[in-house]
Protein backbone atom coordinates (compact mmCIF):
# COMPACT_ATOMS: atom_id res chain seq x y z
CA UNK A 1 0.00 0.00 0.00
CA UNK A 2 1.17 3.57 -0.65
CA UNK A 3 1.64 6.34 1.86
CA UNK A 4 -1.36 8.02 3.47
CA UNK A 5 -2.30 10.92 5.70
CA UNK A 6 -3.33 10.20 9.28
CA UNK A 7 -6.87 11.46 8.75
CA UNK A 8 -9.34 8.74 9.65
CA UNK A 9 -7.06 6.82 12.02
CA UNK A 10 -8.96 5.15 14.85
CA UNK A 11 -7.75 3.89 18.20
CA UNK A 12 -9.78 1.42 20.25
CA UNK A 13 -9.36 -0.05 23.72
CA UNK A 14 -10.46 -3.37 25.17
CA UNK A 15 -10.49 -4.60 28.76
CA UNK A 16 -9.99 -8.15 27.44
CA UNK A 17 -6.78 -9.91 26.47
CA UNK A 18 -6.14 -11.92 23.30
CA UNK A 19 -5.97 -15.72 23.46
CA UNK A 20 -2.86 -15.49 21.29
CA UNK A 21 -0.70 -12.41 20.87
CA UNK A 22 -0.96 -12.31 17.10
CA UNK A 23 -3.31 -10.85 14.49
CA UNK A 24 -5.82 -13.65 15.00
CA UNK A 25 -5.95 -13.19 18.75
CA UNK A 26 -6.09 -9.43 18.75
CA UNK A 27 -8.62 -9.09 15.95
CA UNK A 28 -11.01 -11.42 17.80
CA UNK A 29 -11.47 -8.88 20.61
CA UNK A 30 -14.07 -6.12 20.68
CA UNK A 31 -12.52 -2.68 20.93
CA UNK A 32 -14.34 0.46 22.02
CA UNK A 33 -13.28 3.46 19.96
CA UNK A 34 -11.70 6.33 21.88
CA UNK A 35 -13.46 9.39 20.54
CA UNK A 36 -12.16 12.93 20.11
CA UNK A 37 -8.56 11.99 19.36
CA UNK A 38 -6.55 14.78 17.77
CA UNK A 39 -3.23 12.94 17.48
CA UNK A 40 -1.73 9.66 18.67
CA UNK A 41 2.04 9.88 18.62
CA UNK A 42 4.68 7.32 17.65
CA UNK A 43 3.91 3.60 17.49
CA UNK A 44 6.67 1.03 17.55
CA UNK A 45 9.47 -0.53 19.55
CA UNK A 46 12.93 0.83 20.30
CA UNK A 47 15.86 -1.45 21.07
CA UNK A 48 18.81 -0.43 23.22
CA UNK A 49 22.22 -0.36 21.60
CA UNK A 50 24.98 -2.27 23.38
CA UNK A 51 28.44 -1.38 22.19
CA UNK A 52 31.62 -3.36 22.52
CA UNK A 53 34.98 -2.02 21.41
CA UNK A 54 37.43 -4.89 21.02
CA UNK A 55 41.11 -4.16 21.25
CA UNK A 56 41.43 -5.23 17.67
CA UNK A 57 38.85 -4.36 15.09
CA UNK A 58 35.90 -2.13 14.68
CA UNK A 59 33.32 -1.31 17.31
CA UNK A 60 30.64 -3.91 17.58
CA UNK A 61 27.04 -2.88 18.10
CA UNK A 62 24.61 -5.36 19.52
CA UNK A 63 20.91 -5.26 20.26
CA UNK A 64 19.99 -5.07 23.92
CA UNK A 65 16.64 -4.81 25.64
CA UNK A 66 13.55 -3.73 23.77
CA UNK A 67 11.00 -1.13 24.83
CA UNK A 68 7.72 -1.53 22.95
CA UNK A 69 7.09 2.18 23.15
CA UNK A 70 4.26 4.39 24.30
CA UNK A 71 1.48 6.57 23.00
CA UNK A 72 0.71 10.07 24.18
CA UNK A 73 -2.62 10.78 22.47
CA UNK A 74 -4.11 14.25 22.55
CA UNK A 75 -7.87 13.97 23.19
CA UNK A 76 -10.76 16.43 23.47
CA UNK A 77 -12.11 15.49 26.90
CA UNK A 78 -15.63 13.98 26.83
CA UNK A 79 -17.07 12.52 30.03
CA UNK A 80 -19.72 10.56 28.08
CA UNK A 81 -17.36 8.86 25.63
CA UNK A 82 -17.09 5.16 26.44
CA UNK A 83 -13.60 4.70 25.05
CA UNK A 84 -12.24 7.69 26.93
CA UNK A 85 -13.90 6.51 30.14
CA UNK A 86 -12.34 3.07 29.81
CA UNK A 87 -8.97 4.73 29.29
CA UNK A 88 -9.54 6.86 32.41
CA UNK A 89 -10.36 3.69 34.31
CA UNK A 90 -7.14 2.15 33.05
CA UNK A 91 -5.25 5.23 34.22
CA UNK A 92 -6.43 4.99 37.85
CA UNK A 93 -3.31 4.89 40.05
CA UNK A 94 -4.33 1.61 41.71
CA UNK A 95 -5.24 -0.12 38.42
CA UNK A 96 -2.37 -2.29 37.27
CA UNK A 97 -4.34 -4.22 34.65
CA UNK A 98 -3.16 -4.57 31.06
CA UNK A 99 -5.54 -3.33 28.37
CA UNK A 100 -5.51 -4.22 24.69
CA UNK A 101 -5.26 -1.49 22.07
CA UNK A 102 -5.99 -1.48 18.36
CA UNK A 103 -4.98 1.28 15.95
CA UNK A 104 -6.51 1.25 12.47
CA UNK A 105 -4.94 3.41 9.78
CA UNK A 106 -7.13 4.94 7.04
CA UNK A 107 -5.70 2.48 4.50
CA UNK A 108 -6.86 -0.47 6.63
CA UNK A 109 -3.54 -1.40 8.21
CA UNK A 110 -3.78 -2.22 11.89
CA UNK A 111 -1.49 -2.29 14.90
CA UNK A 112 -2.17 -4.07 18.21
CA UNK A 113 -0.48 -4.25 21.58
CA UNK A 114 -1.22 -4.37 25.31
CA UNK A 115 -0.28 -1.78 27.83
CA UNK A 116 -1.11 0.24 30.90
CA UNK A 117 -2.26 3.84 31.14
CA UNK A 118 -0.03 6.01 33.28
CA UNK A 119 -2.12 9.04 34.03
CA UNK A 120 -4.90 10.99 32.31
CA UNK A 121 -4.16 14.70 32.97
CA UNK A 122 -6.73 17.20 31.77
CA UNK A 123 -5.47 20.51 30.42
CA UNK A 124 -7.59 23.62 30.83
CA UNK A 125 -6.09 26.31 28.63
CA UNK A 126 -7.53 29.68 27.60
CA UNK A 127 -11.18 30.51 27.02
CA UNK A 128 -10.86 29.89 23.29
CA UNK A 129 -9.59 26.36 23.64
CA UNK A 130 -10.99 22.87 24.15
CA UNK A 131 -10.35 21.07 27.44
CA UNK A 132 -7.88 18.41 26.37
CA UNK A 133 -6.63 15.20 27.93
CA UNK A 134 -3.13 13.87 27.43
CA UNK A 135 -2.90 10.31 28.75
CA UNK A 136 0.20 8.14 28.45
CA UNK A 137 -0.14 4.54 27.33
CA UNK A 138 2.95 2.40 27.86
CA UNK A 139 3.05 -0.80 25.80
CA UNK A 140 4.37 -3.93 27.49
CA UNK A 141 3.80 -6.33 24.60
CA UNK A 142 5.15 -6.58 21.07
CA UNK A 143 3.34 -4.34 18.60
CA UNK A 144 1.64 -6.69 16.15
CA UNK A 145 1.07 -5.51 12.60
CA UNK A 146 -1.70 -6.66 10.32
CA UNK A 147 -0.67 -8.79 7.36
Amino acid sequence: MGSTTAAGTIIGISAAHPATEDETGYSALTYTTIGGVEKLGAIGAATAKVEFQPLSGAKEKHKGSTDYGSLQPSIAHDEEDAGQTLLRTAAEPDNNALYSFEVTYPNGEQRWSQGRAFGYPETVDGADSIIMANPTIEFSKKVVKSA
Binding site: G12, I13, A15, A16, T30, T33, G35, E80, L86, T89
Partner: protein
Protein backbone atom coordinates in the same frame (compact mmCIF):
# COMPACT_ATOMS: atom_id res chain seq x y z
CA UNK B 1 -18.30 -14.56 10.88
CA UNK B 2 -21.04 -15.51 13.37
CA UNK B 3 -22.91 -12.88 15.34
CA UNK B 4 -21.37 -12.40 18.80
CA UNK B 5 -23.49 -13.37 21.79
CA UNK B 6 -25.61 -10.54 23.21
CA UNK B 7 -26.01 -9.64 26.86
CA UNK B 8 -28.95 -7.86 28.46
CA UNK B 9 -27.56 -4.71 29.98
CA UNK B 10 -28.91 -2.07 32.34
CA UNK B 11 -27.52 1.36 31.41
CA UNK B 12 -26.21 2.97 34.60
CA UNK B 13 -25.39 6.38 33.13
CA UNK B 14 -25.78 7.95 29.73
CA UNK B 15 -22.85 7.38 27.40
CA UNK B 16 -21.99 7.16 23.73
CA UNK B 17 -19.82 4.85 21.69
CA UNK B 18 -17.79 6.84 19.16
CA UNK B 19 -17.16 3.75 17.06
CA UNK B 20 -20.83 2.82 16.52
CA UNK B 21 -22.31 6.32 16.92
CA UNK B 22 -24.82 4.88 19.41
CA UNK B 23 -25.96 6.74 22.50
CA UNK B 24 -27.21 4.75 25.48
CA UNK B 25 -29.60 6.49 27.89
CA UNK B 26 -29.38 6.01 31.65
CA UNK B 27 -32.02 3.66 33.00
CA UNK B 28 -32.62 1.87 29.69
CA UNK B 29 -32.27 -1.87 29.07
CA UNK B 30 -30.34 -2.84 25.92
CA UNK B 31 -29.10 -6.00 24.24
CA UNK B 32 -25.37 -5.42 23.76
CA UNK B 33 -22.71 -7.55 22.12
CA UNK B 34 -20.80 -9.49 24.78
CA UNK B 35 -17.45 -7.95 23.86
CA UNK B 36 -18.76 -4.40 24.01
CA UNK B 37 -20.62 -5.20 27.23
CA UNK B 38 -17.34 -6.18 28.85
CA UNK B 39 -15.75 -2.86 27.95
CA UNK B 40 -18.76 -0.80 29.02
CA UNK B 41 -18.99 -2.73 32.29
CA UNK B 42 -15.28 -2.25 32.97
CA UNK B 43 -15.73 1.51 32.97
CA UNK B 44 -18.94 1.52 34.98
CA UNK B 45 -21.47 2.40 32.29
CA UNK B 46 -23.52 -0.82 32.37
CA UNK B 47 -24.29 -3.82 34.53
CA UNK B 48 -26.11 -7.06 33.82
CA UNK B 49 -29.86 -6.43 33.83
CA UNK B 50 -31.89 -8.20 36.50
CA UNK B 51 -35.47 -9.46 36.54
CA UNK B 52 -36.51 -6.32 38.39
CA UNK B 53 -35.29 -4.10 35.56
CA UNK B 54 -37.68 -2.99 32.78
CA UNK B 55 -38.25 -4.32 29.27
CA UNK B 56 -35.61 -4.22 26.50
CA UNK B 57 -35.70 -0.91 24.62
CA UNK B 58 -34.54 -0.23 21.09
CA UNK B 59 -30.98 1.15 20.70
CA UNK B 60 -30.79 4.88 20.07
CA UNK B 61 -29.08 6.14 16.92
CA UNK B 62 -28.55 9.75 15.91
CA UNK B 63 -31.00 11.26 13.41
Amino acid sequence: MTDPAKKKAYIIRTFKDAGTDKTFAAGAIEQIDAGAFGNYEACGFVRAATAEDGKVTAPKTPA
